[in-house]
């Protein structure tokens, strides 16, 4: 019979079916955000590249895309902000609870391609989650890079993720770590203002810089523009896009952004690819 496109795939069943993962640890980051350590109940788990994401399924509630914040040897770490039904259910899990996870999906940060270059890692809010493993990679392979900086901003001091790690990264003096908040609170002695205010302070050679930026779309646009005005090429500035996602494998159509499926052509893309689109509202 005439099935023209040849169905070829050995991975297809696994791609649609989640694997059971057990929550081994759950830690509060901020009032509405939790970090979960997860391990496969059996089988090899999930190997990923920094910047990729998984689909996390909660029994009877639903499935959502969540960035991989870390994890090794098939185990995963996810940081989740409770904003709706599924993310609230994830944040309410406890050690021993089981969720379904499929993935990894999507493109990754060009961290290995950035060998020999300066790194500017810029995060806004929960956008630090998908960048966390790039910071770790840079620390673990410090001699491969020139200047490495992390600039990070949140709305308030209470919303900073990974505070212990931020302190540790900073204390190693191997990378520059700069943090700012939109609104200060009692006991905050750090910077106040937008992430872009931190850019003049860090070192990088625009000719050989790779920037990795994740945060609200407006923040990514502003950081990219600012870097551009400092002669960093838009091909060297990477952003991580966010769209509604139901399938993560190019079938549901929800994540479309112009010609791209953010789930498979993204989430990480060079800013040059989306710059024109980002100027038009509601694409």
């Amino acid at each position: 019979m005439t099935t023209e496109a040849t169905p070829i795939s050995v991975r297809s069943a696994e791609e649609m079916l989640p694997q059971p993962f057990r929550v081994t640890e759950i830690r509060r980051e901020t009032p509405d955000t939790m970090t979960l350590a997860l391990e496969p109940t059996s089988g090899p788990g999930i190997e990923y590249a920094p910047g990729q994401f998984t689909m996390v399924y909660v029994f009877g509630v639903g499935e959502v895309p969540i960035s991989i914040a870390g994890g090794q040897e098939g185990k995963l770490m996810h940081t989740v902000r409770a904003v709706g039904a599924v993310t609230r259910a994830i944040c309410a899990l406890g050690p021993g609870d089981i969720v379904g996870i499929r993935g990894p999906y999507g493109t990754s940060w060009p961290i290995t391609e950035a060998d020999g270059r300066d790194l500017v890692i810029a995060a806004g809010g929960i956008g630090l989650a998908p960048l966390r493993s790039t910071v770790q990679y840079a620390l673990n392979h410090r001699d491969r890079f020139g200047y490495v900086s992390l600039i990070y901003g949140t709305r308030s001091p209470g919303e900073l993720l990974y505070e212990d790690e931020l302190r540790e990264w900073r204390s190693r003096f191997e990378i520059e770590v700069e943090v700012t908040v939109d609104r200060a609170a009692d006991g905050w002695y750090g910077d106040v203002g937008l992430v872009t205010n931190l850019l003049p302070r860090i070192f990088y050679d625009p000719e050989k810089t790779t920037a990795m930026v994740c945060g609200p779309e407006i923040m990514m646009k502003v950081v990219a523009r600012e870097l551009g005005s400092r002669r960093v090429g838009f091909d060297d500035v990477y952003v991580s896009l966010e769209r509604n996602m139901k399938c993560a494998i190019g079938f549901c159509g929800h994540c479309q952004y112009g010609p791209d499926f953010v789930c498979k052509d993204g989430p990480v893309v060079p800013y040059s690819q989306v710059r024109n689109r980002m100027r038009v509202a509601e694409v």
Partner: protein
């Protein structure tokens, strides 16, 4: 030409032969004053002697002055409803204590023969094959539904009022993607069917039919019929550089004109034979021991479709219409290497206010030529 010619009286043998081979027959039939696709048990259930009048926002059945079996074009339904059903189960979840198990739904064998698939619909099926089977990932539901289909195509002998397959280079002649193709010939006392095979399976069925071998004259008849249909297209769409035109025209004011009348009702996406978007649903059993995750058709015209952080990315009707049309005619080319529009005209006919993709494209083109 290795074809066969069946008389009207013996055409039923085709149905009988397919039945004998174990196929459930599915094809056009009249229901609720329209032509739908449903299970067929005999030739008599085809829309015999009917034709359809179609225009922007209007569809009407009318009697023909003959007893043609295929003297109409396409209705609101497409074969999509069988291959990519409105609802399907993605996976099932079992829960024992804290442990979860995930399994695919059971899928049983279902050999089906699609009767009366038009050229534009063959093109649409090919496009959905590309989406669900040919783009890196394989959709298990679609793959299963697609597996045991025997396709009996029909060359259109009339063009519908909203048809523009000639512009989209998909019809009216069926060129590939079928097991058998039928051309109905009605002329001065003759009523017969020229049938050709497009696959080994088709060849086998053809050999079992009680027809006479087709001759050059039959071939000439077929050619004349499709040429005449091609000359009577209800609509035309200028496809030259349409991708560039639409990308450049993102900010054309014409989108606002369309948005003023568009009801965002989602009809165009539901009747479109290539639209593939879906959303998901989760249902847990009352005792909490099992759950089902399914998907159902969704539309880029619905507000929740692009929900992100409390508000949709595309909250205006203008942005949603632009998304649909730009995806269909431009983005599709980047994503799947072909246009997403096959020129079947359904979106024009079934739009309650008669918005016309051929006219909108022309208007955006005019705009972008002015804007340079």
């Amino acid at each position: 030409m290795t074809g066969q010619v069946l008389e009207r009286e013996t055409f039923g043998h085709l149905f009988a032969e397919l039945n004998k081979m174990g196929f459930t027959l599915i094809g056009p039939t009249v229901r609720d004053k329209t032509i739908v696709y449903d299970e067929l048990h005999s030739v008599d259930e085809l829309p015999i002697g009917w034709t359809d009048e179609q225009d922007g926002g209007s569809y009407r059945l009318r009697r023909r002055d003959d007893e043609a079996l295929f003297g109409y074009v396409v209705g609101s339904q497409s074969w999509k409803k069988y291959l990519f059903p409105p609802r399907s189960v993605l996976f099932e979840i079992g829960k024992v204590g804290d442990a979860l198990t995930f399994s695919e739904p059971e899928r049983s064998s279902q050999p089906r023969a699609f009767i009366g698939v038009r050229a534009c619909e063959l093109a649409a099926i090919k496009i959905q094959d590309q989406v669900f089977l040919g783009s890196g990932h394989v959709d298990r539901t679609y793959q299963h539904n697609r597996e045991e289909i025997f396709t009996v195509a029909v060359n259109c002998a009339v063009a519908g009022g909203t048809c523009f397959c000639v512009s989209m280079e998909t019809g009216p002649e069926c060129n590939a993607g079928y097991d058998l193709v039928v051309t109905e010939v009605i002329d001065e006392g003759i009523h017969e069917f020229v049938i050709e095979a497009g696959s080994d399976a088709g060849q086998k069925v053809l050999a079992a039919l009680p027809g006479r071998p087709a001759v050059d004259e039959d071939q000439a008849h077929v050619a004349a019929i499709v040429a005449d249909t091609a000359a009577h297209m209800g609509r035309t769409l200028n496809t030259s550089s349409v991708r560039e035109v639409l990308y450049a025209g993102r900010e054309s004011t014409h989108w606002d004109d369309v948005a003023e009348v568009c009801l965002a009702c989602t009809n165009c996406t539901l009747v479109c034979p290539t639209c593939f978007c879906s959303t998901t649903e989760d249902v847990a059993s009352l005792d909490g021991s099992t759950a089902t995750r399914s998907r159902r058709w969704d539309s880029c015209f619905s507000l929740e479709f692009s929900a992100l952080h409390g508000s949709p990315v595309r909250s205006s009707t203008k942005a949603r219409y632009r998304q649909w049309m730009t995806h269909k005619l431009a983005g599709w080319q980047d994503q799947f290497g072909s246009s997403g529009c096959v020129g079947c005209g359904r979106c024009i006919t079934w739009c309650p206010v008669g918005i016309d993709i051929t006219k909108t494209t022309a208007a955006i083109r005019a705009d972008s030529e002015v804007l340079g």
